[in-house]
Symmetry: C2
Subunit: 340 residues, 2 copies
DNA sequence: TTCATGTAAACAAACGATTGCGCGTTTTTT
DNA sequence: AAAAAACGCGCAATCGTTTGTTTACATGAA
């Protein structure tokens, strides 16, 4: 018999019924001590392991969390998935993984796959150009909860975990102002992103506090490609009021921006300084690191998102329709990069 | 009816049998065109999706690959998982993820979980101090194939994908020799690792080719901690024949080694040069990058491992015991880090 | 003795889908 | 026109487990 043992086999060998075996293995009170022991002993001897697929099927629960991320190889997301996996594991959940490659079609398809796999819930950071959210809405009908994190869709009733970029941006701009920069540029990301809007808000608030006027010319957007960033830099550097400091959307963009500045013979941290939002580990090892970075704690975001989802899954059994929506906000934090 | 529709429902509504519905949806030839159409139409209208958990259960196949990696947040592994996910997806497989955190106990427990989930196969890069392989052997009984990659256990009959470090090491040492270095140190990893042994081999072969004698003092090991690396550096730098170049086990170790050297007032790339094995992306952005790195192609390793596993899974249906063991070797390759 | 109570175990349905087999009806063959 | 083949579909078992209900027996009280 090469097949894994089943409770049926145990039942037959002990000449008792299947249900008795099942109950014995679960320490059900209505089973006598004698048979309970005999069953448990034999189960151990046979190396019995319950067939989870059968249980999943029967219980309509898979103890599996679906996770959909844009790009697994990006440091930010790989930290996040690490936090997710750790937390899921702690709560006895497994993680089913998919990467959208920032492609809406693929995202949809993965959602479909995960739904068919009957994951208990989903954790999603959406593709950057997803504009249609039907595939998320649809899951509500199937009672599969979603917790979004970091990249969250613009939808009314959703659960999410995110890092507040406004506070970090305020800290960043404050830091620059304190260091006597007065003309501070910003290279932001796509305007649609909530995170972009928060950066703008933070920037403006910080400036206001110093009673400085907001100059819209200092605010440019990049589509996050190298070319987009170069165009952005170009427009900033060609201003009459040329910035002495630039706050950049993220580390990847910052690397391009720094390179562009160096190409233009600007001395980094002298003629111009950069502050960024960190995605890269070890960015303090880089040759021309941003002076400071706003840390977004991806690992913690992953943790929180998972904890939220697990809690949601626990509750769903109690009151079916007590839907309060979780909005967990982590504070971002400015970190100075001490030069090595 | 909030529950997802089933073929049973379809059958009832159309007043036909369940089996007919099932066959109609699979385009079975024994179903008439008329009913086939009616079924397919209704299925579409009801938004019918087959319950995968039921199918998994019935078919004893989950179309899921288990993946166990030491640390998801490390760049090397996050690239690998990216390759794995992409390839699995292409072949209609899903990915169930676990991270061992280089902990043998945890690794065992994850293997157990994955077995119970009835994954069809496993892709594993083992924890660095796993010495007992029983949990892997055990899977053979359950007919769950494993493909190891990068970090492979010392077992006779296994499938694996790995990067040949010997050739890369030869290239690295050759490169240094051509640049007139004659005293070349090596900071290697734990001796048990196959990858460490390959590095030694490569080093010795390259030296032999140049008819240079192998000086064992130039070969030291680090346990991959900062302290271990510093001890290693110390012993190299205190040699009478002091190396002018050092080949370092990996980028993380290299960062520590470089820092130690700088601390000792050595000028990087002048007094001493480093060559490393790359784990970090963008290492050319770092302040004092190794002159060159041996690339190990983690994404491709992931791809290959997945393709191998998928092939294995396809075959297992044909001839149960035609066990040839796949040993896929990718060539590592030296990449020069052009300074920016 | 008889009826209620309690205990230990068996029975059987259900979860959703697949599939070998069989059976009636129509079509083809001779 | 009768026998054979083809078609179209239903029956029922199966995968492994859980769980509500029932049954058998023993024990105690009335």
């Amino acid at each position: 018999m090469s097949n894994p043992p089943t409770i049926k086999e145990i039942a037959k060998k002990l000449n008792i019924s299947i249900s008795t075996v099942s109950r014995a293995l679960h320490d059900h009170p209505s089973i006598g001590l004698r048979t309970k022991m005999r069953v448990q002993q034999l189960a151990k001897d046979l190396n019995y392991e319950p067939n989870q697929t059968a249980i999943f099927f029967q219980q309509r629960k898979t103890f599996t969390l679906g996770v959909i991320l844009p790009e697994l190889s990006e440091a930010f997301f790989s930290s996040a998935i690490s936090g997710i996996e750790d937390t899921a594991n702690k709560h006895k959940y497994s993680v089913l993984l998919g990467q959208s490659h920032d492609n809406e079609e693929r995202e949809k398809q993965i959602v479909e796959t995960m739904k068919n796999h009957r994951v208990d819930g989903l954790i999603i950071s959406i593709a950057k150009n997803t504009v249609n959210y039907d595939h998320f809405e649809m899951l509500k009908k199937y009672n599969i909860p979603i917790v979004f994190f970091d990249r969250i869709p613009n939808l009314p009733n959703i659960h999410y975990v995110a890092c507040d970029m406004e506070s970090g941006t305020i800290q960043a701009v404050n830091f620059l102002l304190k260091n006597n920069h007065r003309i501070i540029g910003m290279i932001n990301g796509p305007e649609k992103l909530f995170a972009s809007q928060q950066r703008v808000e933070g920037y403006i608030k910080a400036m206001k506090k110093y009673r400085l006027k907001f100059d819209p010319n200092l605010m440019v957007a990049s589509d996050l490609t190298r070319e987009g960033t170069e165009t952005a830099m170009q427009s900033l550097l060609s201003l009459r009021r040329k910035p002495t400091a630039i706050v950049v959307f993220n580390d990847y963009v910052a690397l391009d921006a720094v390179q562009y500045a160096r190409h233009k013979k600007l001395r980094i941290n002298k003629d111009i300084v950069f502050v960024s939002y960190s995605n890269l580990p070890l960015s303090h090892y880089t040759a021309f690191p941003p002076l400071a970075s706003v840390e977004q704690f991806p690992y913690q975001q992953g943790q929180k998102a998972t904890e939220t989802l697990v809690e949601l899954l626990g509750k769903s059994n109690e009151q079916p329709e007590a839907t309060t929506y979780y909005k967990v906000i982590l504070e971002s934090q400015l970190m100075l990069n001490q030069n090595k």
